[in-house]
Symmetry: C2
Subunit: 111 residues, 2 copies
């Protein structure tokens, strides 16, 4: 823990932040399908303890082309270890892959 | 709203996700100073309704060099409009700037 433990949560959780930029030419229908498929994962992988997402509305032009942000929460590393190789996650990756231009993933423990 | 409104929150909030990569040679003491300065902003800018952060612990090697993730929450766009040009935020930016290699900012409304 650092000097700046300002979090309101008494228990640390593991955040998993995922950013996507889709390839040019990906249709809005295809993007909607990917959004829905990602949103279905918490119903299939029970170690995802929280899930939220949205599309970029920033005003500083520092999004580096990324348009989508998904934040998954795990209670511990074991939850992430179940998620990453889970068949439902792999199936999602196969659906996503052909449309993906850039991806960024950063995980952190909340403080 | 989309088909996949799985959020547990009844009210949408505006998330402001900020990623940093520091320049090579930035000392751990300098990084700690920047972390502490960012963490002090919620005490100075009262439109920041929630604040959390952490350092990368991802295992997929997709972090693109970013090491720090800060997530600020605003209740509305007006809250962000207060934050961005706020003197305390500008002062932080001046402290941060010389040490910054890369920055990424993406905002989204929770769903």
């Amino acid at each position: 823990m650092t000097d700046c433990d300002l979090g309101g949560e008494s228990k640390q959780v593991l955040r998993h932040v995922v950013l996507f930029k889709f390839k040019d030419g990906t249709s809005s229908q295809q993007i909607r399908g990917i959004e829905n498929a990602f949103c279905a994962l918490p119903g299939k992988i029970n170690t995802i303890s929280d899930f939220e997402w949205g599309t970029d509305v920033s005003v500083e032009n520092l999004q580096q082309g990324f348009t989508h942000c998904f934040v998954l929460t795990f209670r511990n590393e074991a939850g992430r270890e179940i998620y990453l190789p889970h068949p439902a996650h792999r199936e999602f990756g196969q659906m996503l892959g052909p449309h993906l231009d850039k991806v960024l993933v950063i995980d952190y423990w909340t403080r």
